[in-house]
């Protein structure tokens, strides 16, 4: 596979390390009352869609960026690649 890195252009996916669903960006608030349930769902449950999937890839053998890649799990077609830090900031990442 080839991931079209927003800063570097096309790179072989072999340079990247895959983590999983991009929802892992949305770490729950540990101080909330339902933190135990929220963390369980955050860490363990997955939509696992057959189709478009937003997922995290880390450019370990490259620029060390974490990326949010939108990829179809049926065809492997990649429709969007974003810098995860930008996505996290836009989502209002803490601190």
């Amino acid at each position: 596979m080839i991931i079209n890195h927003p800063l570097l252009g096309p790179r072989d996916a072999a340079e990247f390390v895959y983590l999983g669903d991009a929802s892992l960006i949305n770490r729950p608030d540990a101080s909330s009352d339902d933190a135990a349930q929220a963390f369980y769902e955050y860490l363990y449950l997955r939509d696992n869609p057959a189709g478009e999937h937003k997922e995290l890839w880390y450019h370990e053998q490259g620029d060390r960026s974490w990326l949010v890649v939108t990829r179809n799990t049926l065809t492997h077609e990649i429709s969007k690649v974003e810098i995860a830090r930008d996505v996290a900031r836009a989502a209002g990442g803490s601190a």
Binding site: A84, A88, G93, A95
Partner: protein, 982 residues
């Protein structure tokens, strides 16, 4: 043997005479021959045996689809099983043997299977061999295995070298036949970066096997001219002997280039190169493959595809027979008769299944329309055919054409399905092609030469425009007329004898019928139950025939019956090529520590730790067993001083205004309170609350920390922290960079470690206990100004330091430390002694940090701060991770101290039976303590902290042993830690 079947003409080089051996018999051929054409030249008909029935078989094709003529090529360690004679280039000195027979090829005793064939029908083995049960492994299976298989490996290491590489292009053209050449000319002239790859050793494809003309030249001459022009273009890479074998995601292709397979001796060059080709667009011009017709005994030597006969006659200048007949369902098959006549070879008859007027006139040959071949005679070489009309004819070669199947394989590699074209009676590429791929020529169903040339040109033109380029006005080449009329015909129903569909796996029409009757009707069931299409040719000639017969059984159309898809690779690829250089010591890189050279001089034994090589122990004269060395190193360190290279620990430089706050979140314990110039042990959890890693982190400045990780987790911890930094807390000002390679770091441990270092550290730095206490850190210089970092930390439990210098001084540094400690008899110690000392001190390491242990399990539960959020905090509080009687890390001591403990033993109540129901934990690490003079262990046992002094049994059923052990503190040596602080 002489070349009895060599005729005039062809593209072989008659000035280049090669001698070769087949089954030990010396023969001759020419440059430009394949092994198959050379065998035909020498009149050889019988070349191998089939898989199941061991039927005599000859050459049936002239290409990669060959299902019969597979040989064991070369000898000794170079021998290569299952090599298709039809694609093996002849070279001087080639040696080949036939395979899959017991006894000589002509008298294979396994051919008895052929006579037992009624009992060996589809799936017979699923229905028997079940009784008695024990005989399967002992008798039935060994017999089956010995008779199955084809060729043999030598059993020796592959002596050849292989290489790999990466290529990039705008357009990859797969196949250099008429459409591929036309496309390459158009795209190449327009300036696109083109790769043209073909599996053959000359370009031109079928142009070299046919008598067509292109632009008023013989087809092969046109191909040669086009090829020459393309070779002149800098933007075109021409790759012969290169099979594009797989289409992967996003325009990546796998290709195998055979560099030395056509040479007697590769003289040190890589035998083959596995290329990964990154293409923006690809054009599949892979041509088509002729298929057979199923009729009685259609597998005999001398029965050959009609197009292959033309290849042998026209390209190789050999004739497969002296009296040839043709059996066809299409106009193209007639060309064989015409070409043979042109070469002066007798054509006995042309038998056409179609009841139409003969499309061509073949002088002096019987032309029989609306007729079928129903059976053949000639066990080791066909000599007679029987026709549905009742006629019998003598013939020594039967050329069969059942029509052509486009080579759609690569269009299926991303699970695209070809679609059935009823008019052309073949599968053509479906709509779901791999991204960026288009198809032209016969592979796309353009079955005439002119249509292929046109499609190649047009395909390239439209690709050029999609790339934003325009074609340079290339004209479409014009070709001689030909007809491709075909009418589907699959099998001769009048045949009483077995009619083969898959020649190599011995699948007959009867097997397909039986498969249907038994309910194996879907194409996948058919394939799996009968093994149709599962042989080394992947059903290139058999699949369509099998499907059509299945469709007939079920009364459905082929379209309704479906198709199996093709999977990579297009043709089989040697394992050696897929591994490339990564074998032997080069399987993975080596990482060497800065003291490696020194360690070698000290005769160190080395151990692999991930990619690192670390000194395991350093034997001195007289030591014969590793334990002697290890014990001495431990004693010397605990009694005086030792030095160990700890460079392999991960070092991460952490800077930023939020660095301290960041560490508070990634570590379970607190770092915000750590003073500059101090070090703290840190415990890192995964988000699921399990211990991820541990290490020490030093505060070098207000906004600057240096973290160490375990050797094993250096990469994953860095990745995790980048995840935290970028994805979880993107607004924190914190920056990470690995400094593992920057510093050569040595642990100097033992009561005399300070004195040793005082000899080395420049005098202006006070490293006395008062000025530089336990857990201090700072920047110093050594040996008159060499910059260094000093940490007062200890893994051994002794007064100890770690000192780091820039890696370039690493070799000097180990020698300097040895020199500085000489007066204290300093020793280098290896990972074994390191391990012994950490077990003596009860420190958890890899065996305890095994990814399932919590901080509480390791006795570090207090470190998980309840005051702050950190990774893993919330989920570490789950019920299952906090049982009433948790596993706890404690020490174990054998009751009988003369007995050695074993890691991996399981604990049960003293004297209880060793069963999982009684299981209470396991021994994680053991060592012989030269300080205590007995074996000691660390282990995880339920409620261990509350069971001090209890005797339990450490069961080791693997060794049929069990040892009574006492639960003791994990701190075997200096439990109060006094020695650290002196």
């Amino acid at each position: 043997m002489s070349q009895t079947n060599r005729i005039d003409g062809g593209l072989v080089n008659r000035n280049q005479s090669y001698s070769f051996k087949f089954n030990n018999e010396t023969m001759h051929g020419y440059g430009g021959d394949t092994l198959a054409s050379a065998l035909i030249a020498n009149g050889v008909k019988l070349v191998g045996r089939s898989f199941k029935y061991h039927r005599p078989r000859g050459i049936m094709s002239a290409g990669a689809e060959e299902a019969n003529a597979m040989v064991q090529l070369r000898t000794g360690a170079y021998t290569e099983p299952n090599t298709r004679a039809t694609v093996a280039e002849l070279f001087d000195g080639l040696e080949a043997k036939s395979q899959n027979h017991r006894g000589p090829l002509g008298f294979d005793v396994m051919a008895a299977n052929d006579f037992l064939s009624p009992f060996l029908s589809a799936g017979f083995y699923y229905k028997t061999f079940m009784w008695p049960k024990a005989l399967w492994e002992k008798f039935y299976e060994p017999v089956i295995r010995a008779s199955a298989g084809l060729g043999s490996l030598s059993g020796e290491n592959d002596p050849d070298q292989y290489d790999k590489g990466f290529l990039h292009c705008d357009l990859l053209i797969i196949g250099a036949g008429p459409s591929g050449l036309a496309a390459a000319l158009t795209a190449g002239r327009a300036g696109a970066r083109v790769i043209l790859a073909d599996e053959d050793f000359i370009m031109g494809g079928r142009l070299n096997s046919e008598t067509h003309t292109v632009d008023n030249m013989p087809g092969s001459t046109w191909a040669e001219t086009a090829t020459a022009e393309l070779y002149q273009m800098e933007n075109v890479r021409m790759m012969t002997r290169t099979t594009v074998y797989g289409a992967y995601d996003h325009g990546i292709f796998g290709a195998l280039e055979r560099c030395t397979d056509h040479l007697f001796d590769g003289s040190g060059k890589p035998r083959q190169i596995l290329w990964r080709i990154y293409s923006k667009q690809s054009l599949l011009c892979a041509g088509s493959t002729e298929r057979s017709i199923a009729f009685g005994n259609n597998d005999r030597p001398g029965i050959m595809m009609a197009g292959a006969v033309r290849s042998y006659v026209n390209r190789y200048g050999v004739t497969p027979g002296k009296r040839v007949s043709v059996f066809t369902n299409n106009d193209d098959g007639w060309r064989t008769a015409i070409d043979l006549k042109a070469k002066g070879i007798d054509v006995t008859a042309v038998i056409d299944t179609r009841s139409i007027p003969a499309p061509y006139n073949v002088p002096n040959a019987a032309t029989i329309m609306g007729c079928r071949v129903i059976d053949t005679v000639g066990r080791k070489g066909i000599h007679t055919i029987m026709l549905s009309s009742g006629q019998t004819m003598k013939t020594d070669c039967l050329a069969v054409s059942g029509g052509w199947s486009p080579n759609v394989h690569l269009t299926c590699h991303q699970r695209g399905r070809p679609t059935w074209n009823e008019k052309q009676a073949c599968f053509v590429p479906g709509g779901d092609l791999p991204v960026g791929m288009s198809v032209a020529g016969a592979a796309n169903g353009d079955m005439t030469l002119q249509s292929a040339l046109t499609a190649g040109h047009n395909g390239a033109s439209s690709i050029l425009s999609s790339l934003g380029m325009s074609d340079a006005g290339s004209k479409i080449a014009s070709a001689s007329e030909e007809s491709a009329k075909v009418s589907a015909f699959w099998h001769v129903t009048e045949s009483k004898s077995r009619a083969w569909v898959d020649l190599q796996n011995d699948v007959t029409t009867k097997d397909i019928g039986q498969s249907f009757r038994e309910g194996f009707k879907s194409v996948e069931h058919l394939k799996r139950y009968t093994t149709l299409g599962m042989a080394t040719d992947q059903g290139k000639t058999a699949n369509v025939l099998g499907l059509a017969i299945m469709a007939e059984c079920s009364g459905k159309t082929i379209e309704q019956t479906g198709t199996t898809i093709f999977r990579p690779p297009y043709t089989p690829i040697p394992m050696g090529a897929l591994a490339g250089r990564a074998r032997g010591k080069d399987f993975r890189p080596f990482r060497l520590t800065p003291s490696h050279k020194f360690a070698e001089e000290k005769n160190a034994a080395f151990v692999e730790t991930g990619m690192w090589l670390r000194g395991q122990w350093y034997p001195i004269a007289g030591e014969t067993h590793w334990r002697e060395s290890c014990d001495r190193e431990v004693r010397a360190t605990r009694e005086s001083v030792g030095v160990c290279d700890v460079t392999t620990l991960g070092k991460i430089d952490i800077q930023g205004r939020d660095a301290a706050a960041f560490l508070d979140r990634v570590y379970a314990n607190t770092f915000g309170t750590l003073a500059v110039g101090k070090v703290r042990y840190g415990l890192m959890l995964r988000e699921d609350g399990i211990v991820m890693d541990d290490g020490t982190t030093a505060r070098m400045g207000e906004h600057h920390f240096v973290m160490t990780t375990t050797t094993a987790n250096a990469v994953s911890v860095f990745r995790h922290m980048e995840f935290c930094r970028q994805c979880l807390w993107p607004n924190m000002d914190v920056h990470l960079i690995s400094a593992t390679e920057q510093w050569a770091q040595y642990a100097v441990a033992g009561p005399n470690s300070r004195k040793t270092l005082q000899n080395l550290v420049d005098k202006e730095f006070d490293i006395s206990n008062e000025a530089f206490p336990f857990m201090a850190c700072g920047e110093v210089t050594v040996a008159g100004g060499i910059p260094a970092r000093l940490f007062r930390i200890s893994f051994s439990g002794e007064l100890a330091y770690e000192i780091a210098v820039p890696t370039r001084y690493g070799d000097s540094m180990i020698r300097a430390i040895m020199q500085a400690g000489e007066e204290y008899n300093i020793v280098p110690y290896g990972t074994e002694a390191l391990g012994v000392m950490r077990i003596e001190k009860g420190h958890a390491a890899g065996n305890e940090l095994c990814g399932t242990t919590t901080a509480a399990n390791l006795g570090l539960g207090m470190m998980v701060s309840k005051k702050k959020d950190c990774i893993g905090n919330v989920l570490s509080q789950r019920e299952g991770l906090n049982p009433e009687k948790p596993l706890q890390l404690v020490g174990f001591k054998p009751v009988d101290t003369s007995i050695s403990l074993s890691a991996g033993a399981h604990f049960v109540t003293k004297g209880a039976e060793a069963t999982m129901a009684n299981d209470q934990g396991w021994m994680t690490s053991v060592a012989y303590s030269p300080i205590l003079n007995h074996s000691i262990g660390l282990g995880l046992i339920e409620d261990g902290k509350n069971r001090m002094g209890e005797i339990v049994t450490a069961a080791n059923p693997l060794k049929q042993s069990s040892v009574d052990v006492e639960i003791v503190s994990a701190h075997f040596v200096d439990p109060d830690g006094d020695r650290l602080r002196v």
